[in-house]
């Protein structure tokens, strides 16, 4: 059994978090990248496009049509742990728990920009009624 009991709940949590990031201090750096990133999640399945190519970050769940420069594929559980800063990227990439398709230097450039998200995610969960998903509390 994964962290999320239903696809709907996972979508609610992760899309809500992306939207919170889109209006956070991280937004200018993400917009500077100009990247369109498609997240392909499994167990439960969900596709989310995070589009940083415009003036504002556009988060589009279920968008399977838009062309993206970067595709990140992983399970919903790996994604959840990632936003706590609990995923060893080297391990995840070498063991293919996470697959990154696209220009790797551009992806690496994003990593410093999203570091504040690791602190933001548990706060976001707690303040939006998703305390049960905060693995730092249940640990």
């Amino acid at each position: 059994m994964g962290y999320f009991e239903s696809p709907e709940k996972f979508e609610e949590v992760i899309v809500g978090f992306f939207n919170a990031m889109a209006t956070s201090e991280m937004a200018p750096k993400l917009l500077k990248s100009g990247l369109v990133i498609r997240f392909n999640y499994t167990d439960p399945d969900l596709v989310v496009v995070v589009d940083c190519s415009g003036d504002q970050i556009d988060v589009r769940p279920h968008d399977t049509e838009s062309k993206s420069q970067v595709e990140m594929s992983m399970s919903a559980d790996v994604a959840h742990k990632f936003w706590f800063g609990k995923v060893n990227l080297t391990k995840a990439l070498t063991r293919k728990e996470m697959v990154a398709k696209g220009p790797i230097p551009k992806v690496l450039k994003l990593l410093p920009a999203i570091k504040p998200a690791y602190a933001m995610y548990p706060q976001y969960l707690d303040s939006n009624g998703y305390e049960q998903y905060n693995i730092l509390k249940s640990a």
Binding site: L93, K96, A100, K101, P103, I104, P105
Partner: protein, 391 residues
């Protein structure tokens, strides 16, 4: 400290001997194919180094099906495509690359298209996109710097979109790396110093980086010891075969190390310095290395103190801080020695960087992917004073 997780994977066979390219038959027999395509550049060909290799291959019964000699200073996408087409058309079964990092990276990327077909950017951009081993590939470095003969990455410049593409994949690792110091004898002092400082930066950043493991550390320390003892000699006396050999081995060991534990803020600053002010990568690394070590000092001093003896520092009676500082001093002294030989600038200003460009370098270091692997968070305001010191 033992990391929670690390992976070590280095299937490349490495052989070393002065003049070994004349006799590769035992290694070629193991690989088992007889038709190779050779990749190099015009300068290396002009020095007669390609002929040394092809003579050796032919004497071992190998057929050279063709050559691609148009590799430029950077490995570029259009050359990779042309090179792959030439390999396919020649009927080769495998590839031999003779040259520096750009030649070897071109060969790695061309091997993807030669072995698997498709479009390099559309089909293979990403991490670990390959699913099976490629065609046999032999790397013969003629410089002692990049370590590309043992790294799993090909860095290719897309001139049309003006961006560097990286292809990290274990299947890019060559079957065989041939270290023959006779091929490095003609490297001029400036290139010897710059490529040597590139290798030293690989080793030191790999050693203090957050992805370091006891295995990558062992390779890093070995490389650092060899470089500290031999880089000046190889630069001053280009015909010193022992020093040349030591530097080739060191660059390979540093390559194995940083291919596993990555680089940090020195590379981040050097990438920005190269991109904005056209300072050669090894020169930028050489100038910035001690200042990057100082920036990271609090986070890395314990490891630097342990490293100091390998850098020739006598640490008896010294505190951890003192030993660590002396390790940085040892790097500065090495740079001074190379500078006195006229082989390496000591300051960014001497390499053509304008004073109003320092903030751009600081911003570039923050936004560079290597900052993710740096032991201390890379902050533009905090790193700027160190870049100013390097100026």
């Amino acid at each position: 400290m033992i990391p929670e997780f690390f992976e070590f994977f280095n299937p490349t066979k490495v052989i070393y001997e002065a003049g070994v390219v004349k006799d590769l038959k035992p290694e070629l027999d193991v690989i088992g194919i007889t038709r190779y395509f050779v990749i190099s550049d015009r300068a290396i060909h002009g020095l007669g180094l390609v002929k040394k290799v092809t003579d050796g291959l032919e004497s071992a019964g190998i057929e050279i099906t063709g050559m691609y000699l148009e590799v430029t200073q950077d490995a570029v996408l259009e050359n990779v495509k042309l090179c792959a087409e030439a390999i396919k058309a020649s009927g080769a079964e495998g590839i031999v690359a003779v040259g520096g990092g750009s030649v070897i990276d071109t060969a790695k990327a061309a091997n993807i298209l030669f072995s698997e077909g498709g479009d390099l950017v559309e089909d293979y951009s990403g991490a670990n996109m390959l699913t099976r081993p490629l065609k046999p590939f032999i790397a013969i470095p003629t410089t002692a710097g990049t370590g590309s003969e043992v790294t799993k990455v090909a860095v290719i410049y897309d001139t049309e979109n003006k961006e560097k593409l990286a292809f990290p994949d274990k299947y890019l690792l060559p079957n065989l790396a041939v270290l023959d110091p006779e091929l490095a004898l003609s490297l001029p002092p400036q290139l010897t110093a710059a490529t040597g400082m590139d290798a030293l930066t690989h080793a030191i950043e790999a050693y203090v980086g957050i992805e370091a493991s006891p295995i990558s550390d062992a390779f890093a320390v070995g490389a650092i010891e060899l470089i500290m003892k031999n880089l000046v000699a190889a630069t001053e006396h280009g015909d010193d075969i022992e020093a040349r050999g030591a530097m080739l081995i060191a660059a390979t060991m540093a390559g194995i190390s940083f291919s596993h534990s990555m680089c940090g803020c020195v590379h981040g600053m050097a990438h920005a310095t190269g991109a904005h002010f056209r300072v050669p990568h090894g020169v930028a690394n050489g100038i910035l290395l001690p200042y990057g070590m100082e920036y990271n000092f609090e986070e890395i001093k314990e490891k630097l103190a342990r490293l100091a003896p390998a850098m020739g520092v006598e640490t008896a009676g010294l505190t951890e801080d003192e030993s660590a500082k002396k390790a940085i001093d040892a790097v500065k002294e090495l740079i001074d020695s190379l500078n006195r030989l006229g082989a390496l600038p000591k300051r960014l200003r001497d390499a053509g960087v304008p004073e109003d460009g320092l903030e751009i370098i600081a911003e570039g270091a923050v936004n560079d992917g290597t900052s993710f692997y740096n032991p201390r968070e890379v902050d533009a305001e905090e790193i700027l004073p160190y870049i100013q010191k390097a100026y």
